[in-house]
Structures are given as C-alpha cells and as structure tokens.
Amino acid sequence: MAETTVLGLFEEIEQAASALNRLRGEGGKATEDLMVMSSVPFPEGVLESDKSPIRLTTVTAVFAFVGIAFGILLAGGTAQLYLIPGGGKPISPAPSIGIIAYEMMMLFALTAAFIAALYEMRLPSWRSKVYDTRISEGLIGIAAHCADEEQAEKAEQLCRDAGAADVRRDARAFE
C-alpha cells in the first residue's frame, strides 16, 4: 500500500480544531504528519500543527551586520582604493560611511529576511502537492499523512466525525 494523504475540508474553525486535536490524540499522528491549510492566517495558536522553529529574526540580525560591514567597505573602503581628496573632507568620513552602512544594513537585512522566509517555507516549489482548490475559496484543510490503508481509514473517520464538509484522499507529495 502506497503512502497517501487524507485531506479533510472544514467550513468552521472549531470543527477543524477538533479534527486536528483528534488526529493528534486518537489518531496518534505526529506533528510532522499533520498540516493545516487555509487561505487566511489565524491568530497565533488557533490552528497550528507546525512546531518547527522560526529563525527569521536571527537571520535578519546576522545579515544586518553583514550589511553594515558591506556598507563600510563600499563607502569607506572603495574610497581608500583610489585616494581623491576633495572639499577639505577626509577620504572616508564617518558620517557618509554611517549613512551608506545604514542603507546597506536595511537592504541586506530585509532581502535576507525575505529569502530566508521563502527557504523556511520551502518555496518556491512548483511540484504538484497535496492541495484542494476549495481551500482558496475559504475551506480549511486538515491533511494527515498516512503510511498505510488502515491509518488512512481511521483518519478519514476522525475527520468525518469532526464535521468535515468533505474528506478525500490525495496521493500527491505531502510536503
């Protein structure tokens, strides 16, 4: 029996939450085998199965420092490569280095945050995966990754019990 995914579609938040809890409890599903899909975000903790750590803030902070270093090299360092005096000002004056370092800090930090977020979301990924177009129309999807037929049937049953509008199987990649 091939691996399959049971996808329960719910209309109400509370139904989805109960299905999620049941799959976790009675279904004995591990966190990484469950997935909530929705077209809108919910307040933190309302419907969550993902527990993986988010390191975006760290990445942003690290790249902010990289940006500062880059800015200092760009504004101060390049001027030292070819010394051209002007206006009675130092070759690499601190205020202008500061300004460029600030801009570069922002550029690096924000770009890094964006790229790191995509990386952590595992996007872009254009492979066909478990999904249902009705999710984008407002249904909440609870996907349970099942190793065998027995598990799948149990998961289907749990979803139906929780009040799913529809339950179906999806053989496409889970993650």
Binding site: I13, A16, L20, F42, E44, G45, V46, L47, E48, P95
Partner: protein, 464 residues
C-alpha cells in the same frame, strides 16, 4: 462568531476591588507605620532640599556676590527647563495614549497627569530665575534685558504657552479625577473633614449618562488641547534658543527636538513611576510586563527619532562646514566630551539598544536603569544645548557647576518629587473608573485551540 456571554463586567466587581477610603489608604493598603514614616521622611527631605535651593538662589546669588556667575544661573535654568519639559511631556504622553486608544493606558493615565502639578511651581520660580537675572535670557548680551517682557519676544511666549499647557493639564487631571473623588466622597465618614473636602471636589458627580458623556467630550477636547499646547510650549522653548542672535543657536531643529526630548523623558519617568507605584500597591498587579513592553517599544521609537534629529543637526553643520555652525558642534564635543557621551548613551544608546530586546524591556529593574540613563542623558542635553555657546566667552572653568548650583539642581528635582508626594495624599494615583472601564472592554474568548483577547473598538474621543 464570538460566544454569546456578555463582555461587560459588572461595575460592582470593580467597586469591590477598591477597598480603601482615602488615596493614602490605597497607597498603604496594609496599615504599615514604617511605610508611612518613610513617605513622611521623604517629604521632609524634599522640603528641606527645596528650601536649601531657595536659600541658595536668594542668599548666595541674588543677594550675594555671584550675580554674574554664569555657572550658577545656567544650571538652575537648565534644571528648571528640564523639569518643565518632563512634566509637560508626561501629560502629553497621557494624552497621546488616550488619543491612540492604547488599551493598556488606564492605570497609567493618572500617574502621568499628576505630573502637570509641577507647573504650580513655575510662577514661583520663573520670575526669580529669569527676570532678576538679565544674564539668563540675555545669554551674555545685556542688550536683551529689555526684551524680557516685550510681547513679541520668545520669553513672553514662553510664559503664555507654558502656562496654557499646564492649565490644560490641570483641567484634565481634575476632570478625569471627578468620578474618583465622588467615590471618595461617598466612602468618607458622615461629617468628617474628608467628606467635606471631597464633596467640594466632586460636586454632584453621580455618574449619570449625561455626565459621562460630557466628561468624555471634555476629555477629548482637552486631550487635543494638551497635545497642541505641549508642542507649542516646547517649540517656544526651542525658539528661545534658535531665535537668539547667537548664530550657533540658530538651529531650526531645536523646536521639534525639544518636543521629542520631553516625550522621551516622560516615557522614562512613566517607567520609574510605574515601578514605584507597583511596589507601593503590592500585589494588585495594575502594571504588568505589557506596560513595560509597550513603554519600552515606544522609547525605542522616540530614541531613534531623537538620534535622527540630532544627527541632522550634526550632519548639516559637518557637511556645510560653515565656521560659525561647525565651531559650536566642535566646542560641544571638545569641551564636554563626557557630557556628549552621556547624552548619546542616555538618549539613544540605552533606550534604543537596551529596549530593543524584549527580555530586557520587560524586566522592571532593567527598564528602570534604562530610564534613569535617559533622564541623565536628557539633563546632559539641556546643559549642552545651553552652555557651550558661552564657552568662547567665559572659558570652561566658569561653566562648571558650583556647589550651590548643584544644590539648586537637586532642589528643583526635589520639587518634582514633592509635588508627587503631596498629590498622592489627595488624589487616587490609579484611576478607579479607568480601571473599571478597561475591564468592561476586554474579554477572553476561545477560538480554535487558543484563547484570544477581544476588545471593544472605542469610537474616537471627539465623536461622542
């Protein structure tokens, strides 16, 4: 979508939580003689300091031989302006929290509003410090002596705008205290002095719908008025400098910078007051980490803008390199390097980088340390913006504060503390009705797998 149980908490449950019959009783909810003694001792010390400052001003300088000692007069003016700025900033901060509907503002408002009472000292002090000394306003040029009372001079605008700002603050303090005075009135024993006193203060406040509506409308008007007069008075304080003939004070950024600095100081004071209030009102939990968190974040923002204004000031002088501008920047850093460092750490480093980390800004003691640094930084800024201009004329030695000047400095600080100590005897330091109001507006609801906080959306203050 939400559960149907009512969001409204009954006012009775709030009334029950207020178990004291006088503001001081609320402060000392357990009958502890030692704390009462401590408070009295503090009051005495403050009174002593204020008196010493008065003696210093009159004895040492006014009737003594130091009428022309710049170091003495500058420090007193600097410290007076510092506290005026802070006390107005506190009221403005309170108004700002009201106008933005900050849901956590309620316990804080009264603490901040009381700050405006400091303005009562103004009429006593300002004439002594300003008018008797031609040098003070003249800033070294006696030609300005006659300008003091000219209607078109900044010093007159000072009196006008600072006065108005304080007046607005007092009105807000009194009006928003009315419902609390009424509670005190009703709780005081029949025929007692308190009964009489609070009957006078609270008039016929009954909490009728009409009265509440009028109060709310008045609050709205006053809040807008306070913000306007606050900006106005701080701007005029900045103009005192920027419009002076001394070219190196001709910095158009002083007005917004002073406005902002006052707000920064008010935030620092709010943190300190909150911590003290929390210690006194043990176990009541009026102030929690959310307050520290929010004030800290606010401080980060204001600290950044402070740096922004300062940097603009510096950068324009540095890039343009016009001697008369650049020299003042240089003389600041070369004559008072320690003060410059204190200013930058206090107004920028500590509030921004300290408060940027949530774990630090949520810690009361860390937050208080930062706030103290902020106050030191602001005092350094006042000194740096006022005094180095004299450096070429008087030399550094003449500008270093003397002992009586330091007494005056602490005397004026003691005035501020004394204002508070006296005020909390008669005014509830936490707005009871405010707390009640906040409790009727926020509720917890279950949603999915978590509990969310639900709030009633307030209509804007001016639309009631």
């Amino acid at each position: 979508m939400f559960d149907n149980d009512n969001i409204l908490t009954s006012p009775r449950s709030i009334a029950l939580s207020v178990d004291a019959s006088s503001p001081l009783q609320l402060v000392l909810d357990e009958p502890q003689q030692s704390r009462l003694t401590k408070l009295r001792l503090m009051t005495l010390i403050c009174v002593g300091l204020v008196l010493a400052a008065g003696v210093a001003i009159y004895g040492y300088a006014y009737f003594g031989h130091h009428r022309n000692d710049p170091s003495f007069w500058h420090i007193s003016l600097v410290s007076l302006l510092f506290w005026i700025g802070l006390s107005q900033g506190m009221v403005a901060l309170s108004a700002l929290l009201r106008i933005t509907h900050a849901s956590w503002r309620y316990p804080l408002n009264r603490l901040l509003d009381i700050g405006s009472l400091f303005g009562l000292w103004g009429p006593l002090l300002l004439p002594v410090l300003v008018i008797t000394r031609r040098q003070i306003y003249a800033l070294g040029s006696s030609d300005y002596r006659d300008n003091v009372w000219r209607l078109s001079g900044p010093i007159f605008w000072d009196a006008l705008t600072i006065g108005t700002a304080f007046l607005a603050g007092w009105m807000l303090l009194y009006l928003t205290s009315l419902p609390d005075f009424a509670i005190l009135r009703d709780r005081a024993g029949e025929g007692s002095k308190e009964k009489k006193f609070y009957t006078r203060l609270a008039w016929f406040w009954r909490g009728s719908e009409h009265q509440w509506r009028v109060l709310r409308r008045a609050e709205g008007v006053l809040v807008v008025g306070i913000l306007t007069t606050f900006v106005g008075s701080q701007t005029v304080l900045g103009w005192d400098f920027q419009l002076a003939a001394a070219r190196n004070w001709d910095s158009s950024i002083f007005a917004p910078l002073y406005t902002l600095s006052s707000l920064l100081g008010a935030l620092a004071l709010a943190v300190l007051l909150m911590t003290i209030a929390n210690r006194i009102l043990r176990g009541r939990g009026f102030f929690n980490s959310e307050h520290y968190n929010n004030l800290g974040r606010f401080m980060v923002a204001i600290g950044l803008v402070w740096f922004y204004f300062r940097f603009c000031d510096y950068l324009t002088a540095w890039y343009g390199h016009l001697p008369e501008e650049w020299l003042i920047q240089q003389s600041r850093t070369s004559t008072f390097p320690v003060l410059v460092l204190l200013m930058i750490i206090g107004c920028f480093g500590a509030p921004v980088f300290g408060n940027m980390i949530p774990a630090i800004r949520k810690q009361p003691w860390a937050s208080c340390t930062i706030s103290l640094l902020v106050l030191v930084g602001l005092a350094a800024q006042r000194y740096l913006d006022t005094v180095p201009t004299f450096a070429p004329r008087y030399g550094t030695q003449a500008l270093l504060p003397t002992l009586p000047a330091i007494v005056v400095f602490f005397g004026i600080a003691a005035m501020f503390i004394l204002t508070y100590l006296l005020a909390i005897r008669y005014i509830p330091i936490i707005s009871w009705w405010g707390i009640g109001k906040s409790q009727t507006r926020i509720a917890q609801r279950k949603m999915g797998n978590t509990i969310v906080t639900v709030m009633v959306e307030d209509p804007p203050l001016w639309e009631t």
